[in-house]
C-alpha cells in the first residue's frame, strides 16, 4: 500500500523491540469475541488510475455552471474565484497542517486568521470576529446561543424571511434547551415586519437576514431599534457575503452580532460544503464568542507574532462550561476567503458587488419585458423573487430544456406566495441568455 511505508522487515524489527510475536498480538486488549474475523465487506482496493476514472464518471453526472447557464442562488452563490486562490490553498503547508496549537511553527495559519478577523470585522462593521464556524446556518444558531448567554434570557425572535434551512438549524440547536422561538412575518414589500410588540423583556435577540431569503433588503435600523428598546440583541444573518461590500454595514445599522456564510468569497460551491461560517460581534461580548480566535502578541525577543487566544472560552479548557463545543472548524476555507479578499481588495470587492447588482437589475428588466411580475417592492441585491404564470417547477423545467438552471422554485419554502422563482445573477451568469431565461420563465419555449 503506497500510503504506508512499512516493509515486512520493518514490521519484524518493531515487533521484536515491542516484544510481540505478531501484529495480531498487539490487539490482545480487544476481547477475542469483539474482533472482526472477516474482511470488511467493502469493494476491494482500486488502483489510483481506477479511482480517478470512477470519480471522474461520478463527477460528470452532476450539473454545474460549467455545464449550464446558472441563475440559482438561495444561500450559495456561483461566483468566480481567481486562480490565485486555489494556487495558495493547494500549498500543503496550509492544507496538511492542524489547528495552530504550536504558534512558533504555525505563524502562516495564525497570521492569516488575524487578517481574516480584521477583514470580517471591517465588512460587518463590528469590532471582533472569530476564526470561522461550520457554515452560515450553524453560525446563526451559535449567534443565537451567544445572545442567550449574553442576555441570560430565553426567548428568540426570528424573521420568517430568514433562510428556511437556517431557521431549521436554529430550531435544531435550540431543541432540548429551555427556550421559545417566535417569528416575525413578512410584509407585502418582501421585508420583515418588525412589530414592536413581538419583542419583550424576555427576548434575547431578534434575528434578521440581510438581504433576506427572498432577496429583499431589510430595514435593519428599525429591527435594531425594536430589539434594543427591550434590551435584546440584534443578530443580522448574511448568506450573500458579497452584499456587505455594497450595503450599509449591519454594525453601523445597529447589529450586535453579524454572522452568516462567506462562501461567496472564493469558496467553491461544492454541493454545499465545505463553506465558511463567520461571526463578528462587539468588543464587550468577546468572551461569549464561540470558536477559535487569533490574537497578536510578541515572542521572547519582542517581535510581533500571533497565537490562538481567549481559549478559556473553549471546550478544551472549559469543557461543559465552554461557549461552544466547536473544535475543528473551517480553517482552509477561511484561507480561501482571505486570499480572495486580498485580491479583490477594497475597490475590487465594491466593483464586483456593483456588477452583481447591475446584472440582477438588467435581468429584472428582461423578465419584466416578458410580462413577468416581481411581487416584492423592496430593493434587492443580486437575487430576487419573480412570479411565474404556472408553477416554479414547470418554469424551471422549461429553462432546463434550454440548458439553464434558472433559479429556485419557492413553493417548498413558502406555500402562500403562489408560483414564484428565486432568481440570482452574478458575474458568472450569462448575460446573453437573459432573454431566453425570461422567455422560459414566462411560459414560452426557448
Amino acid at each position: 500500500m503506497r500510503y504506508i511505508p512499512h516493509t515486512e522487515a520493518d514490521v519484524r524489527t518493531m515487533l521484536d523491540r515491542i516484544g510481540a510475536d505478531s501484529v495480531e498480538d498487539l490487539f490482545q486488549s480487544i476481547p477475542e469475541k469483539l474482533q472482526l474475523r472477516r474482511p470488511l465487506d467493502i469493494t476491494a482496493a482500486a488502483t489510483e488510475q481506477e479511482v480517478l476514472a470512477e470519480l471522474r464518471a461520478l463527477a460528470e453526472e452532476n450539473a454545474s455552471s460549467h455545464t449550464h447557464g446558472w441563475f440559482l442562488g438561495g444561500g450559495a452563490y456561483a461566483h468566480f474565484a481567481p486562480s490565485a486562490v486555489d494556487a495558495i490553498v493547494s500549498r500543503s503547508e496550509f492544507y496538511t497542517s492542524y489547528t495552530p496549537y504550536q504558534p512558533e511553527i504555525s505563524q502562516g495559519t495564525l497570521q492569516t486568521i488575524f487578517e481574516w478577523q480584521t477583514m470580517i470585522s471591517s465588512l460587518t462593521g463590528l469590532d471582533v470576529s472569530n476564526a470561522s464556524l461550520y457554515d452560515g446556518a450553524s453560525a446563526a444558531a451559535e449567534a443565537v446561543l451567544m445572545a442567550l448567554r449574553v442576555t441570560r434570557r430565553k426567548r428568540v425572535v426570528v424573521a420568517e424571511t430568514l433562510h428556511p434551512h437556517y431557521r431549521e438549524v436554529v430550531r435544531t440547536y435550540l431543541d432540548g434547551l429551555d427556550t421559545e422561538i417566535a417569528t416575525l412575518p413578512r410584509s407585502a414589500s418582501g421585508q420583515t415586519e418588525v412589530l414592536a410588540e413581538a419583542v419583550d423583556d424576555t427576548t434575547a435577540c431578534v434575528v434578521v437576514q440581510q438581504p433576506n431569503f427572498f432577496g429583499c433588503i431589510e430595514d435593519l435600523e428599525s429591527a435594531a431599534a425594536a430589539a434594543h428598546a427591550r434590551g435584546a440583541l440584534l443578530i443580522v444573518v448574511v448568506t450573500e457575503a458579497l452584499s456587505l461590500a455594497l450595503l450599509r454595514s449591519p454594525g453601523e445599522a445597529g447589529a450586535d452580532i453579524v454572522c452568516g456564510e462567506a462562501q461567496s468569497f472564493g469558496v467553491p460551491l461544492g454541493f454545499g460544503g465545505p463553506h465558511l461560517g463567520f461571526l463578528a460581534a462587539r468588543d464587550k461580548h468577546v468572551r461569549q464568542i464561540p470558536g477559535r480566535i487569533a490574537g497578536q502578541t510578541v515572542d521572547s525577543a519582542g517581535r510581533r507574532g500571533f497565537v490562538l487566544t481567549l481559549s478559556t472560552r473553549e471546550q478544551h479548557i472549559r469543557r461543559e462550561r465552554a461557549t461552544s463545543n466547536i473544535c475543528t472548524n473551517q480553517g482552509l476555507c477561511l484561507l480561501m476567503a482571505t486570499v480572495y479578499l486580498s485580491l479583490l481588495g477594497r475597490v475590487g470587492l465594491r466593483r464586483l458587488a456593483e456588477l452583481n447588482l447591475a446584472r440582477a437589475e438588467t435581468l429584472k428588466s428582461a423578465l419584466r419585458a416578458q410580462g413577468l411580475a416581481l411581487p416584492f417592492s423592496a430593493p434587492t441585491f443580486n437575487e430576487f423573487t419573480v412570479r411565474v404564470p404556472d408553477s416554479g417547477e414547470a418554469a424551471l423545467e422549461r429553462a432546463l430544456g434550454a440548458g439553464m438552471v434558472g433559479g429556485l422554485d419557492l413553493r417548498p419554502f413558502d406555500a402562500e406566495l403562489g408560483p414564484a422563482v428565486l432568481v440570482c445573477a452574478t458575474e458568472q451568469s450569462p448575460t446573453d441568455r437573459f432573454e431566453t431565461l425570461a422567455t422560459c420563465l414566462a411560459g414560452g419555449a426557448a
Binding site: Y3, H66, E93, I105, V169, G272, T328
Partner: protein, 503 residues
C-alpha cells in the same frame, strides 16, 4: 549548542519576513480583473437607495496579484505540515493526505455543483454520498449513517440530540450524561450544549473504564454514557460490552466518540461493542486534510433504533423506470431536524470516498495494524526517557507524563518547544487532563521505522539536554523565525484585529 547536529532532521536556513497584508497595501493597486460597467449597468446601480449603501470599504488591502501570491507563499513557509514530516499530535491522527484526493475533490462536477440544484442534476454526488454512507456503516458496524455534521464536535451534538429525541419519544426526561475523566473537551461541551448536565466517571488505575464505576453512576435520569474507544490514553476499553449492558439495562444509550477509529479499522467495529451512536472524523481516520483547522466532517452512525431521529435530508436510493436513482428524503417525522445549511462538508466526503476506494478492506485494516504497531514501538522505545502513567499495550497512541523531568524543572511545554528546534511538530500536550504534564503521541501508520527511530533519538537528546542544560529547553525554540510566543499577554490584552495607524 542550539544547532542540531549534522545528521539531524532540521537545521537553520533563510526564512522570509512578511508584514500583514494591510501593511503592504497601496492605494490604486489592483489584484482583480473585472469588466467595466456599461452606461445602462451604471444606471441600474440606482436601484438601491443611497441611504442603504455603505461608504467605501475600509481595511481591505489593495494589492496586486503578485503581492498576494508572495504574501501567502511566504506565510505558508512559516507552517510545519504533514508534508514536511512527522506531526504526532495525539488524538488528531495526522496521517498522510493522498494527493489524488485533492485532485478528485476539485473536479468541476463536484466542486462547482450547487446544493440547491435538483437531485436529478446531482446523481453522481448523491450516489457517492450513498455509497460512502454504506461504507461507513459497514466499517463501523452501525446500521445507518448521516454525513451531515461538519466536524466531530457537530457529530457529537447530533448524536446527543438523537439520544434526547429517543428518550423524549418514549416520554422520558433524562437530564444527565456520563463522561469519563479522560474524555476530550468536546464531549462534555456537546452534552452541555444540548442542555445535559455532565457527570464525570473516573478511569481506573489501568487507564480504562471499569463496570463498577459506571454501575455506580448509572441511574434513571442518565440519558447516555459517552465514551471514546480506543480512549484518549490509547487504550482499548476492554470492558466495553459489560459497560454497555449496564447502561442499556437502565434505559440509557451509549455514545461512542469515534475520533480514534483509526486504531481498529477492520479489526473491531463500534457497532459490535454495544455502541448505539458514534461519530466519525473523516479528517482523522479517512485522511481528509486538516487544513490548518478544518474543514473536517463528522458523520454519525446509529443503530436501527435511532434511525428515525437522523437529521434530514437523508440520501435515499429509489428504483425507478430508468434504473437506480438517488433522491433526498425529508420524510423523517421524528428527525432531530437539520444541522447544516446544506448536506455537510461534501468536499471531504469526496476525499474520504476516494481514500476508502484506494485502500479497500485490506488497506484499511493495514492502517490500523501499522498505526498500532507504530504507537507500541514508540511506547517501547520512549519508556526509558519519559514516565508511563498507565501501563499496558496501547492502540493508536501512547501517553507519557513529565514525571521523569521533575528534578530538572523542565516542563512538558519546554520539551515540546525544543522538539521544534529539531524539525518536529510536538505531540499533543497537557491532554488528557488526568495525566500530569501529558505528552500524547500519535504517530499514525504514515511513519516509517527509520522516521520513528530518528524521532526517538531526538527525544533522547532532548532528555539529555534537560539534565545538562535546562535553560536551553526553557528558552526553546531557538531555530524558528520567531521565538517562544507570549500567550498570556495575548489573552490579557487581546489584540484581535489590525488597526490602521491613526494618522
Amino acid at each position: 549548542m542550539t544547532a542540531p547536529n549534522d545528521n539531524a532532521n532540521a537545521t537553520r536556513g533563510i526564512s522570509y519576513e512578511e508584514p500583514l497584508s494591510f501593511e503592504r497595501s497601496r492605494p490604486g493597486r489592483v489584484g482583480y480583473s473585472l469588466p467595466e460597467l456599461n452606461a445602462e449597468e451604471r444606471a441600474a446601480l440606482a436601484a438601491i437607495p443611497s441611504d442603504l449603501l455603505r461608504e467605501e470599504l475600509a481595511d481591505l488591502p489593495e494589492l496586486s496579484e503578485v503581492d498576494v501570491i508572495r504574501h501567502f507563499t511566504r506565510l505558508s513557509t512559516w507552517n510545519t505540515s504533514v508534508d514536511h514530516g512527522l506531526y504526532p499530535l495525539g488524538s488528531c491522527t495526522m496521517k498522510y493526505n493522498p494527493k489524488i484526493n485533492e485532485v478528485v475533490a476539485r473536479l468541476p462536477g463536484f466542486a462547482a455543483a450547487h446544493p440547491m440544484q435538483p437531485a436529478g442534476l446531482a446523481q453522481g454526488l448523491l450516489r457517492l454520498c450513498y455509497m460512502l454512507e454504506r461504507q461507513l456503516a459497514e466499517i463501523s458496524g452501525m446500521d445507518r449513517v448521516t454525513l451531515q455534521p461538519a466536524a466531530g464536535a457537530q457529530g457529537e451534538l447530533a448524536g446527543i440530540m438523537m439520544i434526547r429525541a429517543y428518550h423524549e419519544q418514549r416520554g422520558e426526561g433524562r437530564t444527565k450524561v456520563l463522561i469519563p475523566d479522560s474524555a476530550h473537551g468536546t464531549n462534555p461541551a456537546s452534552a452541555a450544549l444540548n442542555g445535559y448536565s455532565v457527570v464525570p466517571i473516573p478511569s481506573g488505575d489501568d487507564g480504562i473504564l471499569h463496570p463498577e464505576a459506571v454501575e455506580a453512576a448509572m441511574a434513571d435520569d442518565v440519558a447516555a454514557l459517552m465514551l471514546t474507544n480506543p480512549n484518549t490514553l490509547g487504550f482499548f476499553e476492554s470492558h466495553m460490552v459489560r459497560i454497555a449492558e449496564i447502561v442499556h439495562s437502565k434505559g440509557g444509550l451509549v455514545y461512542g466518540d469515534g475520533a480514534n477509529l483509526n486504531a481498529i479499522l477492520g479489526v473491531a467495529r463500534p457497532g459490535d461493542l454495544g455502541i448505539d451512536v458514534m461519530h466519525f472524523n473523516l479528517h482523522k481516520t479517512f485522511s481528509t486534510p486538516h487544513g490548518g483547522g478544518g474543514p473536517g466532517a463528522g458523520p454519525v452512525g446509529v443503530v436501527n433504533q435511532l434511525a428515525p431521529y437522523l437529521p434530514v435530508p437523508v440520501v435515499a436510493k429509489v428504483a425507478g423506470p430508468e434504473g437506480e436513482r438517488f433522491a433526498l428524503d425529508y420524510e423523517f417525522p421524528h428527525s432531530i431536524g437539520r444541522l447544516h445549511a446544506n448536506f455537510g462538508n461534501v468536499g471531504m466526503m469526496v476525499r474520504a470516498f476516494a481514500y476508502i476506494r484506494s485502500l479497500g478492506p485490506d488497506g484499511l485494516r493495514r492502517c490500523a495494524e501499522m498505526a498500532v504497531l507504530n504507537a507500541n514501538y514508540l511506547q517501547a522505545r520512549l519508556r526509558d526517557i519519559f514516565s508511563v502513567p498507565y501501563e499496558g499495550a496501547v492502540m493508536h497512541e501512547c501517553v507519557f507524563s513529565d514525571k521523569s523531568l521533575e528534578a530538572t524543572g523542565v516542563t512538558t511545554l519546554d520539551v515540546a518547544k525544543r522538539l521544534i528546534d529539531y524539525g518536529y511538530h510536538p505531540p499533543t500536550i497537557y491532554f488528557p487532563l488526568i495525566v500530569h504534564g501529558a505528552l500524547m503521541i500519535e504517530p499514525t501508520e504514515s511513519e516509517s521505522l527509520e522516521g520513528l527511530d530518528r524521532f526517538v533519538e531526538t527525544l533522547l537528546t532532548i532528555s539529555r539536554e534537560a539534565q545538562e542544560d535546562p535553560e536551553l529547553l526553557r528558552g526553546a525554540p531557538h531555530n524558528t523565525r520567531l521565538r517562544r510566543l507570549d500567550e498570556t499577554q495575548a489573552a490579557r490584552r487581546p489584540i484581535l484585529r489590525w488597526q490602521a495607524p491613526s494618522d
